[in-house]
Amino acid sequence: MPKLYTGAEIVFKCLEDQKVEHIFGYPGGAVLPIYDELKNHSSIKHILVRHEQGAGHAAEGYARSSGKPGVVLVTSGPGATNVVTALTDAYMDSVPLVCISGQVPTHLIGTDAFQECDTTGITRPCTKHNWLVKNINDLPRIIHEAFEVATTGRPGPVLVDIPKDIQFAKAKYTNPKKKKETKNKNRFNQKDIDNLIELMNKASKPIFYTGGGVVNSGPKASELLRELVSLTGFPITTTLQGLGSYPGDDNQFLGMLGMHGTYEANNAMHDCDLLINIGARFDDRITGKIDEFSPKSKKVHIDIDPSSINKIIKVDLPIVGDVSDVIRSTIKTLKKKNLNLEKSNKQKTSKWWQQIQKWRTKDSLNFINSEKIIKPQHAVQRLYELTKDQDTFITTEVGQHQMWAAQHYKFNKPNRWMTSGGLGTMGYGLPAAVGVQVAHPKKLVVDIAGEASILMTMQEISTAVQYNLPIKIFILNNQYMGMVRQWQELLHEKNYSESYSEALPDFVKLAEAYGCVGIRAENPDELDEKIQEMINIDRPVIFDCHVDQAENCFPMIPSGKPHNQMLLGPKDQEENKITGKGKALV
């Protein structure tokens, strides 16, 4: 007779077979049998968070920096509802998470039992799929399927809800099935690739627009992308999530595009005659006004998710497939046809590059630096200069600081940049940094934060202290919810309704209270020295960087405007006031 295992044992056997090394979680009544079993599985380390949302974001940081799925373990009721924000965040940004939640015993489901909630009902719209395990014999199959669904196709979160009696019940264990044919497999063929190359040959104003799909496709995809871009000689811009998939300091890179993207990237998107979207989804922060989005271009969309194609922007050539596979085929075909686009197309695209250089001279990320007060952009630039020589991982919260980080910190490798783009979750960065540091214990991990965001998940610094995770929380403290304040300044007649935090904690003392190190910088002279001090400390640090309260994030595409009508920074606004030319830009 085969050996029988309890549900709790089966959970761990599945996790072991899925090669899980870390789980992020918080115990409670309905998961106690699973927590009881934890001691028997030394290969799996549990990271105890302080709030289940923190567990979810930490698992996201872990997943995005390592390429492995993040695993979350929470209890029923409030445990499950607290993780909903993180699941939604992971769903929007295509991060593979497997969340295991406890549930009240089967016979109590539907009776409003203590800590009962309809977990699968609540999480249905924010997961790729979820399961309520009602029969112990289904448990091994379901958990393995959960990992499969989370990690294949377009990745995303899944949830397995396990009632407490199922955790005690016994059943046989079955190994994961051999990979069956999954949905969303490559659906492109050589003809698609040939069509793409024909479009490339014809184009005189081409541009690559790449996104998080390149990062999700694995490190190989980024290498292939570099090869393709250098082979074609075309300019490239990336979305917020695509940062790092192409070297940030390369000459063919135009910077990030979109609402706070560079002038050259957005204008090139508007004026191009061939737009090649690789693993991006025409998000509304990217497109601006849909009717006037890139009006003169042929559009190609390469994506693993067929539902992304034609969702927002109609494209001329859809290619459904894994980004790596599509780029690999394209490069192979290019080489076979011996089309050295870089040379043959150089003449064709040389005018285009001249135009791009013209846009570049606008220097749209410029800001007026100060000797008296720390400018937030300057702080990010100094952080970059002082950390660029080591393999640094950056997470962020959400707001102005996030955009400044995206604009001024340059990434050379994928999986080094973790930010909440789709959902825009304030409080994402600190727990995400915890997860990144767990995955990469020896690397420098910095959360570029705002003082408002950080207070939303501040408690997770306690997790960092418990596990000696030397994360650095770099707060650009302007005492405002900066992005809210910026919108109120520009669009609501400077009515700063509830965007100022009247009573902020003393972050240095707060750091000390948590048992980590607090550093404060208040003027530009001491900035470098203090950043260096932060880097040198092998413990968690909260860095309270007091920055200009009135600084706005430029350039920006004002609401309802197309890409070629950007609002530029103060320098340009001033110059244009004199010449009167800039009014069209506003």
Binding site: R124, P125, G288, K311, H492, S559
Partner: protein, 182 residues
């Protein structure tokens, strides 16, 4: 132009609305219907009618037929989004005016009145395959099948013939000829 105060773009012009019949083959498992229906409500799609039942007991498959209205872009999205759901096997999509597809709805009418009235009511239903499911001295239950607009019309017309209760199904669909949908 009034300056927009929103960080979101303004809606662009919508193309023409079309009515489609979407047929979805799903695993007949707990909560599968709510996954399908939740997709519609969550993404703001419209459901005009819905019919669902198990069609293959051995393979545990149900067939869901949904009548929906949307722009061609929205209809395309509905199909692609449905295909992403894990328990969904395949999705069919037909225009309501597609001549190669048969659409049928069923309705039960309860008529109360004297013999004469009931006779008139049954007569009025003649074109729609009426079946008398129950009859007493004062009442009758009539089953008819037809298109949505036909049943709409009948339930309006029968009001004067003693119709007091209507129960009807959503549309079900089947292709004509020997072909089946794959």
């Amino acid at each position: 132009m009034v300056k927009s105060k929103s960080a979101y773009s303004t809606p662009s012009k919508l193309s023409k609305l079309e009515t489609h019949i979407i047929v979805v083959w799903v695993d007949n498992e707990a909560s599968v219907l709510s996954r399908v229906v939740g997709l519609f409500s969550g993404r703001g799609y419209n459901i005009e009618s819905l019919a669902v039942a198990e069609v293959d007991q051995k393979n545990n498959l149900s067939r869901i037929t949904i009548v929906t209205t949307g722009t061609p872009e929205v209809i395309e999205q509905i199909v692609l989004q449905l295909k992403k759901l894990v328990p969904v096997h395949k999705v069919g999509n037909f225009k309501r005016d597609d001549k190669n597809v048969i659409f049928k709805e069923m309705a039960l009418f309860k008529i109360v009145g004297n013999k004469d009235k009931i006779k008139k009511a049954i007569n009025a239903c003649k074109k729609f395959n009426p079946v008398i499911l129950d009859q007493s001295k004062k009442s009758a239950v009539i089953q008819i099948t037809g298109l949505r607009k036909e049943i709409d019309k009948m339930s309006k017309n029968l009001k004067t013939h003693g119709l007091i209760s209507v129960s009807r199904t959503g549309a079900v669909a089947m292709t004509r000829g020997a072909e089946i949908f794959n």
